[in-house]
């Protein structure tokens, strides 16, 4: 069966989702074994949103992430080795073990950083978009945040500024229905976040994360708008997380929500689509090769992270400032 998309793109989206899931299995295993100093926030169930949206970016575009940053980082091109090492607090981590899972960052991959403060990435994304606008280099910044961030004042401030300054930024709200244990219905009367686009006179688009190709198409449209100088776009991606707020979250989510999350698994659905329709001649062997490559990559990352050293004592006072740390840290 034909598809408007190339085989590379179709398999690329599959690979992106599978790599995230395989990586997160390792992260969960590391946490279980006591190898991660802190909890890990997994995005299992949300891979369609992550892979589809990040897949719509060019290599030189930028993104800001949230506390649930593993998928965004991996999809954008941060190396699995450096990400897993960071989750373990190792010196070889993407932040030298000084940021951890809520602060994954990698300028070489265009990753402006995860963020431990809900909503804080929105104004940072605007700043990145302002840089692109002034430099006229065509870069777009993709800004991920959850439904929880949309009731924060900075959501309003940021969308308003981006609108009035016509900034090339795509706001992507991953609406998974919960802020930790708080259901969205308890904290807002607007069932659809995308409705808020209207109040900023910007384009709003809506999509479900269980179909990665829909996400890809929708975010591609948003990115094209932003890149063409037609200003910011708000995309709401309805999504369902399978693992709770963090791995091992004892939160009591409704059985109906968990059933939906399982039923809407984007990887399972995309696998069925690819195998039943065989777009561009894709078959089981192609998918097996993707899975095998992802497993090999994550096994390698595991070995690397495990064998890596912890930061030495000099790491404590380095990088507080660009230079002269001894003096400024002492006094």
């Amino acid at each position: 069966m034909s598809s408007p998309y190339s085989k590379d793109l179709l398999l690329g989206l599959y690979s992106s989702m599978v790599r995230i899931r395989k990586f997160e299995h390792k992260a969960a295993e590391a946490f279980q074994q006591g190898l991660c100093p802190s909890r890990v926030h997994l995005c299992s169930g949300q891979e369609g949103s992550v892979a589809g949206a990040v897949g719509a970016l060019d290599k030189w575009d930028w993104l800001t992430s949230t506390h649930r940053a593993i998928g965004h980082s991996l999809a954008k091109g941060a190396p699995a080795r450096a990400l897993l090492a960071e989750l373990m607090g190792k010196a070889t981590g993407c932040c030298c073990g000084k940021g951890g899972g809520m602060h994954l960052a990698d300028p070489e991959a265009g990753l402006l950083g995860a963020n431990g403060i809900v909503g804080a990435g929105l104004p940072l994304a605007n700043g990145s978009a302002l840089a692109a606008k002034l430099r006229k280099n065509g870069e777009v910044t993709l800004c991920f945040f959850g439904d929880g961030a949309t009731n924060n004042g900075v959501f309003h401030e940021s969308l308003n500024i981006a609108s009035v300054w016509n900034l090339p930024v795509v706001y992507l709200c991953e609406n998974n229905g919960y802020g930790i244990s708080t259901a969205i219905e308890k904290v807002t009367r607007t069932p659809d976040i995308v409705a808020r686009a209207k109040s900023y006179a910007i384009t709003g688009l809506s999509v479900n994360s269980d179909n990665v190709l829909d996400v890809y198409a929708t975010v591609s449209q948003a990115v094209a708008e932003a890149r063409a100088g037609r200003g910011p776009v708000l995309v709401e991606c309805k999504t369902w997380r399978q693992a709770g707020h963090y791995y091992g979250d004892p939160g009591e989510y409704s059985p109906a929500y968990l059933a939906t999350a399982a039923e809407k698994d984007p990887i399972a659905r995309y696998t069925v689509y690819l195998l039943e329709n065989g777009p561009q001649g894709i078959g089981q062997a192609d998918l097996d090769a993707v899975v095998k490559a992802a497993e090999d990559e994550m096994n390698d990352a595991w070995r690397f992270a495990l064998e890596s050293p912890f930061p030495g004592p000099s790491g404590l006072t380095s990088d507080v400032y660009a230079a002269d740390n001894d003096r400024s840290v002492a006094r």
């Binding site: 930028w62 800001t64 981590g93 993407c94 932040c95 030298c96 073990g97 000084k98 940021g99 602060h103 960052a105 990698d106 300028p107 402006l112 950083g113 963020n115 431990g116 403060i117 804080a120 929105l122 104004p123 940072l124 994304a125 605007n126 700043g127 990145s128 302002l130 840089a131 692109a132 002034l134 004042g153 900075v154 401030e157 940021s158 308003n160 500024i161 009035v164 300054w165 380095s318 990088d319 507080v320 400032y321 660009a322 230079a323 002269d324 003096r327 400024s328 840290v329 006094r331």
Partner: protein, 332 residues
């Protein structure tokens, strides 16, 4: 006809900062200004007058009244290599822009393992004396000195203000640049040329052998007036203007205190938990036993800055208080 540029001429603090910004904006096209009403109006204190005309609206940006939003935007822009200079209309408004400063700008270099820099300057008018009352008159430098990752600059004279703003704009780290509102119209000689002053270098504004008055910002002028009165009474006070609190010029403090063995710290901010308390602790830790008198602190009262002028004046140290404290520390 002599067409040589004058080596220096009289400017106000406000004009000096304007000149420093103008030089930096000419030097580097990625320096830009962000702040409420900083364009045609030139900011409510007139510091940015004429910059919109020279550099245009792409580099002199007037955002909505959204301090969190535009300060955070400046952090993001700085992470991408631009050099934004944010003006908060009053430093008190930092309460609604604190996350980008506390959790983003200050931490980004460290938490990214040195992979991101935030070359951001946040300029903010501070201090009392202009009858704006409690929400527009505070001295909050201790909020910022307490946050690792920030640099904190508090200039006093026009020459310092120009040189320090130039260095702040060139600095690779976030700099909080606190300008006292009541110094804006003070005149002083300012070098006409490029004259950056390194952050972390204190300046002896008056030498003396009997007592070191450690001060910064507007209180430096009070200290100078007090020192003149003290000289008439036979007490030679050294006025040490810190200029930047972080980085701190400990070598300068050490040298001066080693000489005078008496220390008076003068600050406008509320006394409890002020930066003066930190200085007092550091001096005591290093000089206990060598001091000829206990370290003395003069600071603002632990009150909200009142509106009524008489009360407002009583809330912060005045010249006579400095004279009195210095005399008590130097018995004759």
């Amino acid at each position: 006809m002599n067409d040589a540029r004058p080596a220096s001429r009289l400017l106000t603090v406000s004009q000096a900062i304007n000149e420093g910004l103008r030089i930096e904006m000419r030097r580097n096209p990625e320096v830009l200004l962000i702040g409420e009403d900083i364009g045609a109006l030139g900011g409510i204190f007139g510091v940015t007058k004429g910059l919109l005309e020279e550099f245009g609206p792409e580099r002199v940006l007037e955002p909505p009244i959204a301090e969190y939003g535009f300060t955070g935007l400046a952090v993001g822009a700085a992470m991408r290599g631009l050099r934004p200079v944010v003006e908060l209309m009053f430093s008190d408004f930092v309460s609604v822009a604190m996350d980008p400063i506390l959790n983003q700008a200050a931490k980004m270099r460290y938490m990214s393992g040195g992979r991101f820099s935030v070359p951001l300057v946040l300029r903010a008018p501070r201090g009392s004396g202009d009858h704006y009352a409690g929400q527009h008159s505070q001295c909050l430098e201790a909020w910022f000195t307490h946050i690792p990752g920030l640099k904190v600059v508090c200039p006093s004279t026009p020459a310092d203000a120009k040189g320090l703003i130039q260095s702040a704009v060139r600095d690779p780290d976030p700099v909080i640049f606190l300008e006292h509102k009541l110094t804006y119209n003070r005149e002083g000689n300012v070098p006409a040329d490029d004259a950056p002053i390194p952050l972390g270098s204190a300046d002896i504004k008056r030498s003396g052998r009997d007592l070191t008055i450690i001060c910064w910002s507007r209180q430096m002028f009070f200290a100078l007036e007090a020192a003149a009165e003290l000289a008439a009474a036979g007490i030679e006070a050294e006025v040490l203007d810190l200029r930047s609190l972080v980085p701190l010029d400990w070598a300068a403090i050490k040298e001066s205190v080693g000489k005078t063995r008496r220390v008076l710290i003068v600050e406008e901010a509320a006394r409890r938990g002020g930066f003066g308390a930190e200085l007092s602790a550091q001096v005591n830790e290093e000089f206990y036993g060598a001091l000829a008198a206990p370290v003395k602190r003069l600071a603002g009262k632990n009150v909200v800055i009142p509106f009524s002028p008489g009360l407002e004046e009583a809330a912060i140290p005045q010249v006579k208080d400095i004279v009195e404290a210095a005399r008590a520390a130097c018995p004759r």
